[in-house]
């Protein structure tokens, strides 16, 4: 089987989520990566070095610069004559584009797979991860999104894939990019951070969140996350949200500060290797999943922790 994998990037660098998708796709067959964007030579050469990638297809056109689904989906559909499967990471870009491809190909998409159980059999979470469904496709071709936390990252080096330019399908003329407000910070991205410090509603307000959580994250070189309650209360922007409706993360160490542990939050972080919880309520549900718990007032414990680290 030949598998076309969507490479996630920002026209400058390849994103780590691509590496998990490559691992998943390699379980199905020969992996070809599609790098669609504008001015993507550097991304293409990074893609070609990934272990397990046989070929890199590049589609370099201003119409693809922002990954608009209306422009990108026809490109993928046009290439699918050569492939039996299309795989994308379950990022907001992957989730935006992939169903458009599936519907055009008249294939049932399998969203956010956690494992590959057979040539056409996969597991995926349903009901916010409260149940795991094993599903088998009856379609001739597969269209899949991959939950990054379910698969190890392919090695970013060691590969020597051929790079092949493909013909652009151009601008569909239906949509245009207006602007992006992408948070820029020096901290690791949530979906690839080794350590994450997350804050909850107990942090009171934006100032207190910043004054309490950020110094701890800086001390540990950690990414910063938040519960939905903290985001809805306006302590931090929405892209900090970890949970069922936010980001799904699985770092080595996840430190939950002042987070009670609602199901919706647990769905986004319960695959973390080690979970540490600091909460003054000894009965908070977060302690039922935490490997290490500290029952303490975060406003004394966190500053003490920062001072002693």
């Amino acid at each position: 089987m030949r598998v076309l994998v969507w490479a996630e990037h920002d026209n400058v660098a390849l994103k780590d989520t691509t590496l998990s998708a490559v691992t998943a796709a390699a379980k199905l067959g020969e992996v070809h990566l599609l790098v669609a964007g504008a001015g993507i030579n550097e991304v293409a050469s990074q893609a070609a070095q990934i272990t397990g990638v046989a070929r890199v297809l590049t589609a370099d056109d201003a119409a693809y610069a922002h990954g608009l689904a209306e422009n990108v989906a026809p490109l993928i559909v046009g290439l699918m004559g050569r492939y039996e499967a299309f795989v994308a990471p379950a990022t907001t870009t992957g989730k935006n584009i992939t169903p458009r491809v599936a519907a055009t190909l008249d294939v049932a998409q399998i969203s956010e797979i956690l494992s590959v159980e057979g040539p056409k059999t996969f597991t995926r979470p349903i009901y916010a991860g409260n149940a795991i469904a094993t599903v088998k496709s009856r379609d001739d071709r597969l269209v899949i999104t991959v939950r990054g936390t379910g698969f190890a990252k392919a090695l970013a080096s060691g590969g020597t894939a051929v790079i092949e330019a493909v013909t652009s399908t151009g601008d569909a003329g239906q949509s245009s990019f207006v602007r992006a407000e992408i948070a820029r910070n020096e901290r690791p991205e949530l979906t690839s951070a080794k350590v994450i410090v997350s804050g909850g509603r107990a942090l009171k307000d934006a100032e207190t969140f910043a004054a309490t959580i950020l110094p701890l994250a800086d001390k540990l070189g950690a990414g910063v996350g938040a519960s939905r309650a903290a985001v809805d209360a306006g302590y931090v922007p929405n892209d900090y949200q970890v949970g069922q409706t936010g980001k799904i993360v699985a770092p080595e160490v996840y430190i939950a500060v002042g987070i009670s542990g609602a199901i919706q939050h647990l769905a986004g972080m319960k695959d973390s290797k080690i979970i540490i919880a600091i909460n003054k309520d000894a009965d908070a549900p977060i302690f039922q999943v935490a490997d290490i718990g500290l029952v303490a007032d975060l406003f004394t414990a966190v500053p003490e922790l920062i001072a002693k680290l």
């Binding site: 922002h66 608009l68 689904a69 209306e70 990022t91 907001t92 870009t93 989730k95 584009i97 169903p99 458009r100 491809v101 519907a103 055009t104 294939v107 049932a108 998409q109 969203s111 956010e112 059999t121 349903i126 009901y127 409260n130 149940a131 469904a133 094993t134 599903v135 088998k136 496709s137 009856r138 239906q174 949509s175 990019f177 207006v178 602007r179 992006a180 992408i182 350590v195 001390k219 540990l220 809805d232 922007p237 892209d239 980001k247 080595e252 160490v253 199901i263 319960k270 979970i275 000894a282 999943v289 935490a290 490997d291 290490i292 718990g293 500290l294 303490a296 414990a301 922790l305 002693k308």
Partner: protein
């Protein structure tokens, strides 16, 4: 302007799903069912467009069992004008849902279709995008802000790194994210009024859509449970643990 809002009846978000003992699915017998929360946000957005004078008519559509009529009535009570129920007792996959909605759209000719970004039961996150593909129209997914002006809709989207704004020509498909709005509670008079609003019943066959599944559900299982670990006495003990983990 006409707005269509497809809605789904799902297990209420406050109810903890229980996996059936035979592993065939989730037990939905005698549990509270409600409108999918993202769809409720979609209804609210459409009704607000109507209240602003941007939209003239809001039509809600549901594909599901006869009881989905209750879900449609709740949307009518929020301010939608009329409803279409496409009845089927079978589980309908997103692709077939999108095909039925395409047929509805070809009949109704809406300017805007607003959907929830995903249903909280199967968590597929597919129908809006599939519908956009089948209609060959643009899509604004995961919307946190929607502005209609001059034959176009500007949608601010919640994306992984922050926010992204796109402009789409109409007709367009929008899928809602959590922070688009806070849905209203229907008032008692509006709930009473909703009972007499028009609701027509159809079947997938009326739209010549084959709803037979493309995916076989082999089994549904409980996820692996994490067990609680240890509690440490104080910050010093926590630091010892962090050092063991190589974090500090």
């Amino acid at each position: 302007m006409k707005v269509i809002v497809p809605i789904k009846r799902v297990l209420d978000y406050n109810v903890k799903p229980r996996v059936k003992a035979d592993g065939s699915g989730i037990d939905l017998a005698n549990v509270k069912m409600s409108i999918n929360p993202f769809d409720e946000i979609a209804v609210e957005e459409a009704v607000r467009l109507k209240e602003k004078g941007v939209a003239k008519e809001v039509v809600v559509v549901s594909i599901g069992p006869a009881k989905a009529q209750e879900t449609l009535r709740s949307a009518l009570a929020m301010g939608a004008d009329r409803a279409i129920l496409v009845t089927t007792e079978d589980a309908v996959e997103p692709l077939a849902v999108a095909k039925i909605l395409k047929a509805v759209a070809l009949e109704e000719v809406p300017d805007l279709l607003i959907l929830g970004k995903q249903a909280i039961d199967d968590d597929c996150n597919q129908v809006g995008q599939m519908l956009a593909a089948l209609l060959d129209r643009p899509q604004g997914t995961f919307a946190s802000k929607v502005e209609v002006a001059d034959g176009a809709v500007t949608v601010t989207r919640e994306v992984d790194g922050g926010l992204e704004t796109v402009k789409l020509s109409l007709p367009a498909i929008i899928t809602t994210d959590l922070r688009l709005n806070e849905p209203r509670y229907a008032s008692l008079p509006n709930i009473m009024k909703a009972k007499s609003k028009p609701l027509v019943t159809k079947t997938p066959a009326d739209y010549q859509v084959d709803t037979s599944p493309r995916l076989t559900v082999v089994k549904v299982a409980e996820p692996a449970v994490r067990s609680a670990g240890v509690k440490v006495a104080d910050v010093d003990a926590l630091i010892v643990k962090l050092k063991e983990l190589g974090v500090a």
